[in-house]
Homo-oligomer: 325 residues x 2
């Protein structure tokens, strides 16, 4: 349904917006599906870029951004999702031309007029699946890389544990740690995920935390000599069990605490282990490390091209799109 | 009561020993006062050193060592106190001669025959009070130095918070941070301690945590712009309040969690702040840093000689000693 108007084709633009800040689990009623229209031309006088959005990445952390954040020291502000990969349809910015593939943080919609094109990055490598550009090749991959290598610096042969190991970040962390020569164990929440970790992703071991009565005992089984590096995605009881099983001078990189997002937080009772074992526990936010992105790409692209990294993707295609180019 | 026997004077040696491992608070009945005798001569064939013990330092961490510790990864083993400063009475080790002042980890007794003299260190500086050698000039001081400078690396002008700020380590941490040009606030448990911190030890501010209904509000009052460095001695509710008030990229050095030693541990509920604020939290044990001792002495001795560091000492003199030299 394209219509001509003031010299430019007008396209229907479906958008998903957030009606209000979310508390607890989000539900469909927190969102609104709107249809507006957008001109297939960057307005004169603007230096913007018009994108057709191809992939939108829905990441767990987005839930936190849908909440009401009042803290000025907070590293992000409340917003609607998300990270988008799109194709340039029109541009008045000399750095982008029609047909370029770019990614950036944009709304959840079919087309976007980006008025601050400096927030976009051009995708220069096209010999890998395009969808990887919202995952392993962008913030998700950089998160795994930074949390593992910059925060924890695992040495060859060290013992690495990853929770939520089948998650967007976790499944990369485990594979990155294997590439660094570590012994790697992951936890996940179903038999299928555990099988995937062991049989497809090359983890040395994996277990279903829901089937373990005693997480401490489970970790002792897989790490009789203790854990050197823990990539923390979940928090709560798992963190408590990990603290008991850390080796002296262990490192914990805190990427997420997803078990705590929707419940009354459970503080770890075994914090004394931080002293006994001289543990370093460090939270990080990938946006602080974007300067490492080129270094990360140099490291990860060859591994991807050689088929050494397997990416789990869960892609939902929006079939109702009418205005496809 | 000295008696001659096989060519050597024999001295009465009062000893305090631990009867059994302690659980919860220690009480007098956990200890036994024994009287034995010791010869005022290192036996032939031994390469030991005989000490008259002058000062014994009773530190909070000793409580933890009085408990039953079964973890082979643990940084210390169960034992009886303590850190002792003594004078050499006789020696068959060429590195020590009669009259030398030494310190080391010895039993709680009047005299000790040290059969492994390599565990002793000679005290080379005698122009400062001798008792400082069990405190600011030894492990206590090194603990404050390492936890503040090595773990947290405060920059001039940064905002430092110290809990248990009138404690053996805490009162030094605050003064060291002032010497480094920081803004320093301490918490303590009585009006007298708060006055001492503000009027004698040079803290910028101090408060009595027992009088605060809301620790978060108290910290916001003293740190409207947030805390860069927290020297953690207490844990529990204070840690939770601190996490809410940390600045981005704040550092927490975990020296002790004394609020947790005798109760069911209270885990911090605000751990998400570790991510939001990119906080680094690191436990440490001073024994890992003994190689820094000479560097520490070079730094601290001039400040002590110039009267820039005030040491709180709580000395109990054992009056019943009969065999004093």
């Amino acid at each position: 349904m394209a219509s001509e108007g003031e010299g430019a084709v007008e396209l229907r633009n479906k958008q998903v917006t957030l009606k209000h800040h979310v508390s607890g689990f989000p539900s469909e009623t927190d969102f609104e599906l709107r249809t507006s229209s957008i001109k297939l031309k960057v307005p004169e006088g603007s230096s913007g870029v018009l994108l057709q959005n191809l992939y939108l990445s829905a990441d767990p952390y987005i839930l936190l951004r849908m909440r009401n954040i009042n803290d000025p020291n907070h590293y992000f502000t409340s917003f609607t999702p998300g990270s988008v990969l799109g194709r340039v349809l029109d541009s008045r910015d000399p750095k982008f031309k029609k047909g370029d593939l770019v990614d950036g943080e944009i709304g959840w919609e079919e087309y976007t007029l980006v008025t601050a094109p400096e927030t976009l990055s051009k995708i220069e490598y096209t010999d890998v699946p395009l969808s990887y550009c919202t995952g392993v090749l962008r913030l998700i991959g950089l998160t795994a890389y930074v949390g593992l290598f910059e925060i924890c610096a695992p040495k060859k042969g060290e013992h690495v544990f990853v929770s939520a190991a089948c998650g967007a970040v976790g499944h990369l962390v485990g594979q990155f740690a294997k590439l660094a020569g570590c012994y790697v164990v992951g936890s996940a929440g179903s038999k299928e995920k555990v099988d995937l970790l062991k049989n497809k992703l090359g983890f040395d071991e994996a277990f279903n935390y829901k089937e373990e009565q005693d997480l401490d005992a489970a970790l002792r089984r897989y790490f009789p000599q203790g854990i050197d590096v823990y990539f923390e995605n979940v928090g709560g009881k798992m963190l408590d069990a990990v603290l008991l099983n850390m080796r002296p001078h262990g490192r914990i990189s805190v990427c997420g605490l997803i078990s705590q997002y929707n419940t009354e937080p459970e503080g770890p009772k075994n914090l004394m282990q931080i002293i006994y074992k001289r543990i370093r526990m460090e939270g990080f936010v990938v946006w602080d490390y974007t300067s490492l992105y080129p270094k990360f790409l140099d490291w990860v692209l060859p591994h991807i091209r050689e088929g050494k990294i397997f990416c789990i993707e869960d892609i939902t295609e929006v079939k109702s799109r009418e205005n496809r180019n």
